[in-house]
């Protein structure tokens, strides 16, 4: 298959989005939305598979440029709708279209009966369009298009239940926090254009003129030639990546984003969109490598975020929130991996994480679906009897997330941690050792909080409370509409899924099927990246064949590296595997004790540490702090500006308008109506003029 077909990967979902949008208008067409969306995504996936087959063949290491149409061309700026295909692109496309297809199939069941069914699939299709554009973009501006496009879809989907004020607020927060990062990204693009005069990645020839791409510019530069502005570029880009991938300090939107439907959380806020930041850094690694401080910064932020988010996850009670913080934490791992030059590790973790986190979210969605929207793990227990399939699917996901030996997460996490320790132990900075240890500690915490969820929900005595959604249908049809009882609110569709079952129940195979596929991936995907005896793996070949191959830095670091770093008398990788396996099992055991066998002990523990527990439960009060430090003052500024505008600026204008009036009031005294007064005025005028003229002369 020609790789030209890859052009269709974004546009099939785009067409599906338009079609689904039209379906919104008609009740009968609404059911068509899901099949159309699924077909477009699956065909995208199949095309991607075809393209993957061309690796090494038509798709060379240098990457291939596919021109679609001219987009922005003015001055020297050359940003076309053109795609850049290399192995990294293909890998990302596989994840996006693959997970996307599975989630769409799942959602076809999950969202069934919802009034916004077509709207949902329109947004999902649009998201896949934007995400694939992001991944395939040949220039930064197009990448930015995808970048903001996924942001829009995220906004629309978080706010899917738009009549819930909390959903609207969460959507708004996500968009705005992302925008902050995007500003950095945009400025980064501008600085790149300013410094290199180009924004496209690949070198291409048009009309006999060669347009050298960004990568070529970068490779031409030696580190000594790099000037200060170029050093700044990665930091600006990084800001965008932190925003999109929910890293410190811009992570705050992601936990709130769980207001969206669960498939959305799985697809966008776990598997694909949030990894865009990692992808971007991997894609632009040549630029990041130009600055000696950029990647270490990424590593530090990643490591810190991983630990920070994991601690918060310890004391959350909402299942999806736990997974949300775990996503933030795992994204931190990926940044750590990229930051320590293990792009392979970062991307590997991205790849495996897509499977097991999507699986976890979707199973959480199943639980929620079965319990009518109930997500509070304190209000459910022992569901393994009611939902056996879901129970064991989630168990697989939890194992992978906890890094249980030989699951997917185990290999990828290990690769990152080993790389960090390796750099630390070979004397490239104690910082790396600290990061590695922090990563290990985070792995322990991860295992604990993951299984805390699983044990709480599925083990123990079977008791649960149903969620509010049934009640909402029956009792409070004016939910959220107290302001206007007269309005037509008999069906509160934006808020409620029509629900026929009235007790916890297992899902149908339309929903469980995709989960099984994901579960298989979560168990086995790790082997794709596991190096064989020659140190070679499929994933390594993918990275080496792309721009994400950290050649420059690795060479620079080569001086430090010894052939085999040793730890605890073992080869480093082996040692790390052993250590993290132990930590993982330890975490699971602690969780099992506190949340299965001896739940009162957990409560006692929480009481003893009530202060810390409250801090964690309230997420370190970060939201409150941000509200007080940023949002409130900014809004106050708005009020101040408004008052200033009305009083001072408009007041000044009005004051200027008063000047002639005041002049008029002053002069009016001369017009008092007395004839002789006027005569005196004239006589004085003549006299004054005579004197003045005499002076002039």
């Amino acid at each position: 298959m020609s790789i030209e077909f890859a052009k269709w990967v974004p546009w099939l979902p785009a067409a599906a989005a338009v079609f689904c949008g039209l379906c919104c208008t008609n009740r009968r067409m609404r059911t068509l939305a899901a099949p159309v969306c699924i077909v477009s995504l699956v065909s995208g996936f199949l095309i991607t598979l075809g393209v993957k087959g061309q690796i090494g063949g038509e798709l060379s290491d240098a990457g291939t440029r596919l021109q679609v149409f001219e987009w922005i061309r003015i001055g020297g700026l050359n940003a076309d709708f053109a795609y850049y295909l290399d192995t990294l692109t293909v890998l990302m496309l596989l994840v996006v279209t693959g997970v996307g297809s599975l989630v769409a199939i799942y959602a076809a069941g999950y969202m069934a009966g919802d009034r916004g069914y077509a709207r949902f699939f329109a947004a999902v299709s649009l998201f896949i369009f934007a995400m694939t554009t992001l991944v395939m973009a040949d220039n930064l501006v197009l990448l930015y298009l995808g970048w903001e496009g996924v942001g829009l879809c995220s906004y629309l989907l978080i706010g899917y239940y738009y009549q819930k004020p909390s959903a609207v607020a969460a959507a708004k927060k996500a968009f705005i926090v992302n925008r902050i990062g995007d500003l950095g990204f945009a400025l980064g693009i501008m600085l790149i254009y300013h410094q290199f005069g180009t924004v496209h990645f690949s070198t291409f020839t048009a009309d006999g003129v060669v347009y050298p791409g960004l990568f070529e510019h970068c490779s031409r530069l030696t580190l000594a030639q790099v000037e200060t502005p170029v050093l700044v570029i990665p930091f600006l880009l990084m800001l965008g990546a932190f925003g999109k991938s929910a890293q410190l300090p811009l992570y705050v939107w992601l936990p709130d984003a769980m207001e969206g439907p669960t498939p959305v959380s799985a697809l966008i806020h776990a598997a694909t969109m949030v990894t865009a930041g990692v992808y971007m850094i991997a894609r632009l690694l040549p630029v990041f490598e130009l600055s000696p401080y950029a990647l270490p910064t990424v590593a530090v932020v990643g490591g810190a975020t991983a630990l920070f988010a994991a601690t918060i996850a310890l004391r959350q009670h909402d299942i999806k929130r736990v997974f949300a913080y775990s996503t933030v934490s795992q994204l931190g791992y990926m940044f750590l991996g990229v930051g320590v030059l293990s792009t392979v590790g970062g991307v590997f973790h991205l790849f495996t994480h897509a499977f097991f986190k999507a699986l976890l979210f979707l199973t959480a969605g199943s639980v929620m679906h079965g319990l009518a929207g109930q997500l509070d793990m304190r209000k459910m227990s022992g569901l393994r009897t009611k939902m056996p399939v879901t129970c064991w699917l989630m168990f697989v996901g939890c194992l992978a997330l906890a890094g249980f030996p030989f699951t997917a997460g185990f290999f990828s996490k290990d690769m990152i941690l080993a790389a960090a320790m390796d750099r630390g132990l070979t004397g490239q900075g104690t910082m790396y050792t600290v990061l590695g240890i922090a990563g290990l500690f985070t792995a322990l915490l991860t295992a604990y909080y993951t299984f805390r969820v699983w044990f709480r929900v599925f083990m123990g005595p079977t008791e649960y409370e149903m969620g509010e959604e049934h009640a909402a249908v029956e009792d409070t049809p004016t939910d959220g509409n107290e302001a206007d009882p007269s309005a037509d609110t008999s069906i509160d569709d934006g808020n409620i899924k029509v629900e026929h079952h009235h007790d916890a129940h297992e899902m149908g195979w339309l929903m469980n099927g995709p989960l099984v596929v994901l579960a298989v991936g979560a168990l086995l995907a790790g082997w794709l990246g596991h190096a064989d005896s020659s140190g070679h793996s499929w994933l390594l070949s993918v990275i080496e064949g792309s721009s994400a191959n950290p050649t420059r830095m690795v060479e620079a670091a080569a001086g430090h590296a010894e052939a085999h770093t040793m730890l605890l008398g073992m080869e480093l990788h082996t040692a790390m595997m052993v250590i993290s396996s132990c930590l993982s099992v330890l975490g699971i055991l602690v969780a099992a004790y506190l949340h299965w066998f001896n739940r009162p002990a957990a409560d006692r523990l929480a009481e003893q540490w009530s202060g810390s527990a409250r801090v964690l439960e309230n997420k370190y009060f970060v939201d409150e702090a941000m509200d007080a430090v940023i949002v409130k003052p900014l809004r106050m500024m708005g009020y101040l500006c408004f008052v200033f505008d009305r009083l001072v600026i408009e007041g000044l204008v009005l004051a200027v308008g008063w000047v002639p009036r005041i002049g008029g009031l002053a002069v009016r005294r001369t017009q008092r109506g007395a004839l002789q007064g006027y005569g005196i005025g004239m006589a004085v005028g003549v006299a004054v003029v005579a004197v003045l003229i005499a002076m002039v002369r």
């Binding site: 308008g657 002639p660 002049g663 008029g664 006027y678 005028g685």
Partner: protein, 522 residues
Amino acid sequence: MTHMLDKIVTLWPEVALLVGACVCLAVGLSPRAGTRLLCAWVAGLSLVAAGGLLAFGVGQADQGLAAAAGTGMTGFVKAAIVGVGLLLLLVAASVPSELERDAPGGLVDGDGKFDPGSVMRGEFFAFFLFSLAGAMLCAGANDLVWLFLALELTSLPTYVLVATSRDRADAQESAVKYFFLGAMAAAVFLYGFTLIYGSTGLTNFDAIRAYVAAFADSGEPLAPLLRTGLILAILGVSFKIAAVPMHFYAADVYQGAATPVTAMLAFVPKTAGFVSLILLLSLVQPAGAEATRAVTWLLCLMAALTMTVGNVLGLLQHNVKRVLAYSSIAHSGYILVGLVGFTEAGSTALGNGTAAVLFYLVAYGLATVGAFAVLGCIGSRGDEAQTYDDLAGLGRRHPVLGAAMLISVLSLLGLPPMIGFIGKIYLFGSAIDRGYTLLVIIAVLNSAVSAVYYLRIAAACYFRDPAAETVSLAVPWRRAGAVLAAISALVLGVAGGRLVDAAHVATAGQAQAVAHVSSVAP
């Protein structure tokens, strides 16, 4: 003797008006109302006749005589006066019968109430024609005596017109103010004329120019007596144009007089005054810029003060007639901008300040007559419309009158594409051409201020609901006059090229004449 007859040739249009005036007086004596009705037609005929005479070139004689008469602008000015005069006649010809008259008790003499300004009275039209003739004579003046007589011929009938225009105390109050202050101002400019004569021993303009040119060549400054005389003359004449410091009377008089008479006051004496100013300034033009710096300063000062005073006072008024009076003062200020730097004869059209003045007089005349005419077409509470409230809803009740009012005030505001805008290009362009940029900036800012009250008029016409007590008066001719004035203001704005050329040609002749005189001076 032949010389005298030659000169009379240039005066045929004036003669036509004077004859018409006399016929009006005679016809007005008739006891039959129907016969007296003819007065308006007689006046109209004489104006048309004067126009015809002008059109066939009778009034301008040949080039040599025009030069001898002092200027080439005579024809333009006369034509302008005849044209706007016809409009004024339309405005004045039909007098509403609806308005109440508060006749003083016991003053019912003879055949009924005193009905001033009516078509029934020959005097009104006779004085009207006399005044127009006086203004036309100003344009042809080539002697101080002539100018003095012409100015007085312009003014004296207007005193009577104001006094008898309405049978109301207000009209008489404005008449007494107008007359007494006018007499005082006349004394002032007469004193100025006397000093000019005293300084030179001459009254003939050509002779004075030659005298001044001779002095200029000798490098001596202008004689103090001459300078003082000139300045007194300028100040005295500025009463006619209502410029600071002689502006005090204007608002009161305009307010008190009947609207058609006010319209006339706003145009005829002002034209006569500006023409006189042009002539007076031409006397010292040969002396050059340096020697006449004081005069230039005076003009600048007067221009800036006049427009500013007029506009700021206009802001405070509620009475539309008063507003238009202050607007009239402000416009005198703008027009004075065209006179500064009079020593440089403009070679290009836009550099020609004198032509700009003449052109703007026409522009101003059309617009202001239009505005007053509309005002005269409506009545309120048994009186003429006076306040903003009286204009409320005019645009809805009488779309045509409303549009005429809108066009008129926008033209006065100088908004394109009305004729007032071209006038402003002309005036301000010529001032910039002579280097008076600051004055132009003051002028444009003043235009912005004036927008406040012009807009108030437009807003009253269009934005407010019609007031219950306003009535439209049965004055078909006046309406025709209003519409005609507005249409002219619009059409001449869009197609004003010919008029601009005419003004330029007229004054270019003057410039040549001056150049001629100064070159032959000993």
